[in-house]
């Protein structure tokens, strides 16, 4: 078995030394979100065995809307007709995924489960100008009736593709591809000048 890996995990933003940039008080606060385990889950929405296996493993039903279904710790987001994203805390140590894999296997192996935990980095954007900042780089409608808290969308923001999870009216988590993360962070800081963006660790 491999080492305990928590100490060797490295964020793509590490090279930016956010600590030296922290501070400021403005209309929007940028910070790096907690790392997560995340998985692509593929399968047919109308496949009952598949849906049962997911529910049995996670304790939450497959969401049919692009909204997120929230379990005790897990977040399950529908991203496409046959695609979901499972996001669980890093501390979970892969238990959700292992349970899901075994439930799927027991159901005869429908769909597919792919670990993409290292594929994205989480950046939190919060504050009364959070939507204004994001709106400098995406055409998504942030009106709460169109995009209510709790929902997620995959879209394009500035120079990258991103999965935006709206936690509250003015709090967002952006899951961005790790190879883009540094450029994206710098883009956010640059566009954030207009709102006196502050940086938190």
């Amino acid at each position: 078995m491999a080492d305990d890996l928590s100490d060797i995990r490295r964020s793509p933003l590490a090279g930016l030394d956010l600590g030296s940039r922290a501070g400021g008080a403005g209309g929007v606060l940028l910070s790096e979100g907690a790392a997560r385990e995340s998985f692509i889950l593929r399968g047919q929405a109308d496949d009952a065995a598949f849906a049962r296996a997911v529910e049995a493993a996670l304790g939450i039903g497959l969401p049919q809307e692009p909204a997120a279904a929230v379990g005790s710790d897990a977040l399950l987001i529908r991203l496409g007709p046959d695609e979901w994203r499972l996001i669980v805390p890093l501390a979970d140590g892969g238990q959700f995924a292992a349970r899901l894999a075994s439930e799927l296997a027991r159901a005869g192996g429908p769909g597919a489960l792919v670990n993409v935990s290292s594929a994205t980095t989480v950046i939190a954007v919060a504050g009364e100008r959070a939507t204004d900042l994001l709106a400098t780089g995406t055409g998504i409608d942030f009106d709460p009736t169109a995009f209510p808290p709790g929902q997620s969308v995959r879209t394009r923001v500035g120079n990258t593709q991103a999965l935006i999870h709206r936690q509250a009216v003015d709090a967002f988590e952006l899951h961005v591809p790790r190879s883009h993360a540094r450029s994206f962070w710098e883009w956010l800081e640059d566009r954030g000048r207009e709102f006196h963006a502050a940086i938190a660790l």
Partner: protein, 982 residues
């Protein structure tokens, strides 16, 4: 400093007289007030000449009030800070502002270029098409440099724009373009109904025409009503009010651009311009109308201006354009203007109304009189009036004045309506082009729709706002519409009084009535021809004041109705938009994110020289003290081939493939057979485009019964994914296959060289690395350097080699642990250059060879195409041209002179003379091979394989270099593959 001789004793709702400001124009200091525009400040100071005209260098003064201004273009700031071609009417005065007139030397007041005016008769429209043809290169050598010296209005920029620019993308139920009475009424109605409203107006204050001329709304001052309405809108969270914001473009599916100039007093975080992209469900176009000029001799003289602008300077700024005015026009607005000016202290010399009869008793009216000529050169000193229906021999009457306010009627602002592809209707009776059928989801209201009375504008705006709200699903009650007693339409009959002399139609490009007549006479009869032949309407005012006059003159010249003449196309933007605003957020990495691998921080700390690989950066080589680049690269190759090297291959595309039909599908997308692959084994695969050309290559690994992992080239990560999804979703939807791009999840490093087995053996002690247990093209899950990893045995360098993949979060740990583990092996990190050398030595193809034109056979990979199965692109290989003899084939070239080095971009030829003749082929990849001690290359050469053993020449005609080389098979190094086993 000069005082403000033309500032009225009182008045001016936009200026704050308690805050004087100083500003400079052409080196002279003047005073103005907070709230002034540069134009009002200059007029208050008595500056009459603010510009010189483009072609004839005639003196020009302020003509208009806002973005329609054709004349008063200035440059602000000096040297690096200079900004050219700004309209004085749009510049908010700020303390210390420095502005300069343009197109003149030494100044607009005393311009040597005025001499050009004398040669004006030689320069009718299109004169340059008729001459400058001899000698043959005369145009570019002799004449064009002169023309270019005259080109342009303002100075060329001397430095980049370092101001901050911003963008905002928002959604609205209703966008209202224009904040005059109609626009404000529309916004209020829509907002009360519950719609998300954006109201944008180009002025510093909402009110539109009411800023220039007072009017009454709801039994009170119109502007006060506007203020109240704006105050109500400001309390609504679903309303966005944008001042100094011009709606500039109307695009597909109701996307509109709005250029906002937030405030000239910038704090660091306030952008110079914020460009809004508003996606609106519905749009109310209430952008008002532009006043038309009258066409008489000398109508460009400083002091001749738009009547509503003259009124506006008095009303909004308390500034008088002169002491004594002749008001001339063809509609009732002249009386209101004259009264307003009189009230402000201007003497009314005459009010010339081209219509006969009527008139008002309180003003010196000349009914049925028109201006024939403006007298004066550097500024107007009087006008010659004559009877509209008079005979040419009638002597007119000269009237002294120091400015002329001309009111030629109104042209509705159709730009946005037309940009949205709405149709245009010509109203013959009223002489107006009106918006017809709407293009996008929008409605025009107020003066923009030809309603020129205040009550009509309010009613129409209100109704439009309500309708727009309703169409976007908002129906809350809104109360009754506002009313105004001003119900006179004040329509102008068509009247383009034309006499002899220089009658300017387009002031900015110096286009006269005679130019338009000449164009028509010469056969340039389409309105677009006239525009292009004369430059009519092509200036920075985009024909706001000139195009209607041009249209009518052309129609008259051709004796055809205006409706048949049509208009030129209205092109966005409505007013010029700063390029820096369009570029905001898109410069550098903001435009193309720089992709970094998980080990990038290490490479950077190591001082690696990077190279671009698509959006990624990769170490090109790792510099060493005292060594040149080439030596370093050679060392990296030597040490890898002789010992062990490590390279970051994290940029390769990776795709996870699962599903019951995965094997069937992989057979279809690769030219070679994949389905026979055993679990734990891998295979090199070749993807073709449907046209039979090589598309991509990579390695396919089978991880489980229905589970595969494949790599793509760095360049084609996204293209391959899209290709796979295309085939799965549109061509073979019956297949159950799930493809997921996992490029970002995995980091990978390759260990290469005879020492790689020993090193990996220590890093992964549990792994049996014997040939038997872990053969070529096998894949194993293992713990490497304490990290869970996938290990592939494959080789790109031609040496024994392993690729180790771990989740990217652990990528840096893998990299550093392998490097420290490899210290005793002298593990050498190498970059793309050394990697390239080794792959050329080994004859592997990249996109330099698979350049989208080559077939598998061209590249010597013909045997990889399975004869006994279907697949993408295979059918095309049977087309005659792809089987033709004489195609260029991949060969190796071995340079005979061991001292020679191949320059970039070479051709391959039979001889070294480099004389024009079809070459044999071209170099695709080249390097100096430290292994062979000479330069080698891969090349595509006509019938290349048959030329093996022959001598050809590698040539670079542009540098004059050539060298002889022997044609050899493309695999230079270890053709038997023995080194793959260490």
């Amino acid at each position: 400093m000069r005082r403000q001789p033309f500032r009225a004793a009182e008045g001016g709702h936009l200026v704050d007289r308690s805050e004087p400001l100083r500003f400079d124009f052409d080196g002279h200091r003047y005073e103005g007030y907070q709230g002034d525009s540069l134009a009002s400040g200059l007029l208050a100071a008595g500056v009459r000449i603010v510009a010189r005209s483009f072609k004839y260098h005639r003196p020009r003064g302020v003509w208009g009030f806002g973005s329609e201004e054709p004349n008063a273009m200035v440059t602000t700031g000096i040297r690096e800070d200079a900004r050219a071609n700004l309209k004085a009417t749009e510049i908010l005065l700020s303390d210390g502002l420095e502005a300069f007139g343009q197109n003149a030397w030494p100044s607009v007041a005393w311009d040597m270029g005025g001499a050009v005016g004398l040669a004006g008769r030689l320069m009718p429209a299109g004169f340059y098409y008729k001459t400058f043809m001899a000698p043959t290169r005369g145009w570019s050598a002799l004449y064009e440099p002169l023309i270019r010296r005259m080109a342009g209005f303002g100075p060329a920029p001397a430095a980049p724009d370092d101001a901050f620019y911003a963008k905002r993308r928002i959604h609205a139920d209703v966008l209202v373009a224009g904040g005059g009475p109609a626009g404000v009424a529309a916004a209020l109605a829509a907002a009360r109904a519950g719609a998300r409203v954006v109201l944008a107006d180009e002025n510093v204050r909402f009110g539109g025409a009411l800023l220039r001329m007072p009017g009454e709304i709801e039994e009170g001052d119109g502007l006060a009503w506007i203020d109240t309405a704006i105050a109500e809108l400001e309390t609504m969270s679903h309303v966005c009010l944008l001042r100094r914001a011009t709606v500039t473009g109307y695009y597909d599916h109701n996307l509109l651009t709005v250029a906002e100039r937030p405030d000239d007093d910038v704090e660091p975080s306030t952008p110079a311009v914020r460009l809004w992209f508003v996606r609106a469900r519905d749009v109310v176009l209430a952008a008002g109308a532009h006043e038309r000029p009258l066409l008489f001799d000398g109508n460009d003289r400083p002091g001749v201006m738009s009547a509503s602008a003259a009124a506006g300077y008095a009303h909004a700024y308390g500034v008088l354009a002169g002491r004594q005015v002749v008001v001339a026009g063809n509609n009732d607005s002249i009386y209101a203007v004259a009264r307003l000016l009189r009230g402000a202290g201007v003497a009314i010399a005459a009010v010339a109304d081209s219509r006969s009869g009527g008139g008002v008793p309180d003003l010196p009216c000349r009914m049925g009189w028109v201006v024939e000529r403006a007298v004066g050169s550097r500024r107007v000193r009087g006008v010659l009036l004559r009877r509209a229906d008079g005979k040419p021999e009638d002597k007119g009457e000269r009237i002294a004045c120091d400015f002329v306010a001309m009111a030629g009627g109104w042209s509705p602002t159709l730009h946005l309506h037309a940009q949205a592809r709405g149709s245009l209707d010509y109203d013959e009776e009223r002489g107006l082009i009106l918006p017809g059928r709407a293009g996008g989801v929008n409605r025009s209201a107020g003066a923009a729709a030809g309603r020129f009375d205040l009550d009509g504008c309010l009613a129409e705006g209100w109704a439009a706002g309500l309708a727009a709200a309703t169409s976007s699903g908002h129906e809350r009650p809104v109360g009754p519409p506002p009313r105004s007693p001003n119900r006179s339409a004040g329509d102008a009959p068509v009247s383009w009084q034309v006499g002899p002399g220089k009658r300017f139609v387009d002031l900015q490009y110096d286009v006269t009535a005679a130019d338009i007549e000449l164009a028509a006479r010469e056969g340039y009869q389409s309105v677009e021809h006239v525009k292009r032949y004369t430059a009519l309407g092509m200036g920075t005012d985009q024909g706001k004041t000139s195009s209607m006059a041009g249209l009518v003159l052309l129609s008259e010249a051709l004796g055809r109705p205006v409706a048949r003449t049509g208009t030129t196309t209205f092109r966005p933007p409505y007013t010029p938009v700063p390029i820096a605003a369009m570029a905001a957020g898109l410069v550098g990495e903001g435009r193309d994110a720089l992709r970094r691998t998980a080990a990038d921080d290490w490479h950077e700390a190591q001082g690696a020289v990077f190279t671009a690989a698509g959006l990624w950066r990769r170490p090109r080589y790792y510099p060493r003290d005292g060594m040149e680049e080439v030596e370093t690269i050679e060392a990296e190759v030597r040490e890898t081939r002789g010992g062990v090297g490590i390279v970051d291959v994290g940029t390769l595309g990776k795709v996870d493939i699962q599903g019951r039909d995965a094997r069937v599908f992989l057979d279809l997308i690769y030219a070679n057979r994949i389905s026979t692959l055993g679990i734990g084994r891998g295979r090199y695969g070749l993807m073709l485009r449907e046209d039979g050309r090589v598309f991509d290559d990579g390695v396919i690994m089978r991880l489980g019964e229905h589970h595969f992992y494949l790599t793509t080239t760095t360049a084609h990560q996204h293209a391959v994914m899209q290709h796979i999804e295309f085939l799965l979703q549109t061509v073979w939807p019956e297949l159950e296959v799930y493809a997921s791009d996992v490029t970002e999840h995995w980091f990978a490093a390759a260990l290469a060289g005879p020492g790689s087995r020993a090193l990996l053996g220590r890093a992964a002690p549990e792994l049996d690395l014997s040939d038997a247990a872990f053969p070529m093209m096998a894949v194993r899950a293992a713990t490497v350097a304490g990290l869970s990893a996938l290990v592939f045995r494959m080789s790109y360098s031609g040496e024994l080699s392993y690729e180790i993949a771990v989740p990217a979060d652990h990528g840096l740990a893998l990299w550093t642990r392998l490097l420290s583990e490899g210290r005793e092996d002298d593990l050498t990190p190498y970059g793309t250059e050394a990697m390239g050398v080794m792959r050329i030595e080994k004859g592997h193809v990249t996109h330099a060879e698979a350049d989208g034109r080559t077939t598998p056979d061209d590249l010597g990979l013909g045997r990889m195409v399975s004869a006994d199965k279907r697949g993408v692109g295979k059918r095309s290989l049977d087309l005659p041209a792809l089987r033709q003899k004489g195609r260029r084939q991949l060969v190796g070239l071995s340079v005979i002179d061991t001292q020679a080095r191949i320059p970039p971009g070479c051709q391959v030829a039979e001889s070294s003379d480099m004389k024009p003749a079809p070459p044999l082929g071209h170099i695709t990849s080249f390097c100096y091979s430290p292994t062979f001690g000479r330069a080698i290359a891969l090349a595509l050469v006509e019938n290349g394989r048959a030329r093996t053993g022959q001598t050809v020449h590698i040539t670079s005609p542009m540098t004059g270099l050539s060298m002889a080389a022997e044609v050899v098979p493309p695999v230079f190094y270890d053709a038997q593959g023995t080194r793959l086993h260490g």
